[in-house]
Symmetry: C2
Subunit: 154 residues, 2 copies
């Protein structure tokens, strides 16, 4: 499953005529296997365990390449940095407004499509050509909610 995800991405890169460096493969492994939606800096820290000489720059270039191939999704958080999600299937994110933790929220694709077609599409005031959705839920994770009474009040 995870491995086939890696293979998927690798084949796409080959098909597009790009090359496969060890750094690139490792970056793909890290984002596709991670469940924690890492930032570029976090991917960088992780890859340094196996390739101590890689540059942050290389991490940025590879992540943005993967993003333009639609093989990772970018998540913008409130703390202004971009996080990366190796799961590009339809799903949402619940984002903790206190600690920034992001968890996946399962969304059933047919349900969402139905909601979109019935309730939203007809209301677009301009003719947008939608090809991607993002659904985010903001609030507090359980830890921040229980541990820090100061932030729990609205």
């Amino acid at each position: 499953m995870t491995d086939s995800r890696l293979n998927q991405i690798v084949s796409k890169i080959k098909k597009m005529g790009y090359s496969l460096t060890p750094q690139r493969v490792e970056i793909i492994k890290i984002v596709s296997e991670s469940k924690s939606h890492p930032s570029a800096a976090e991917v960088y820290n992780k890859i340094k365990e196996s390739y101590p000489m890689v540059s942050l720059n290389t991490v940025y270039k590879n992540l943005s390449m993967l993003s333009s191939l639609h093989e990772v999704k970018e998540i913008k958080t409130m703390q202004n940095s971009v996080h990366y999600d190796g799961d590009v299937s339809l799903h949402g994110h619940a984002i903790c407004e206190n600690c920034g933790k992001i968890i996946d929220v399962q969304i059933n694709e047919p349900d969402f499509k139905k909601f979109f077609e019935n309730k939203i599409k007809g209301r677009l005031t301009e003719n947008y050509h939608i090809n991607n959705y993002g659904v985010e839920f903001y609030g507090l994770c359980d830890y921040c909610y229980t541990a820090d009474p100061a932030v729990s009040e609205t």
Copy 2:
């Protein structure tokens, strides 16, 4: 309507014991009246027409204050800067992946709440305390879709 929005925000600021400087009032006017989801820099350019001496810093401070009072919403775009929305009622955004243009997407609150309660809430894998939603649609605006064939291909 627009004016009452300004008054709403002004009363909240008074109630919280903050002061009302001309710069602040003008910034509130600009975001609450704008339909174009301006960035901090765009608000800055606008306010300079009436108050040429304001600093960008003041704009940032006021916008983040309004955001923490939940009187404006922050929108993170792909071009990494934050945009501000003076409409804090439930609605989504359609964002053009080519030019960055953002338009509002009407979402009927009861419909969305129903969708959330029935299809999503039960699937949260952790006990998140959700108090806010964001729904984004990514694609191309009609102009970019028709004008620039290079970007229309997936």
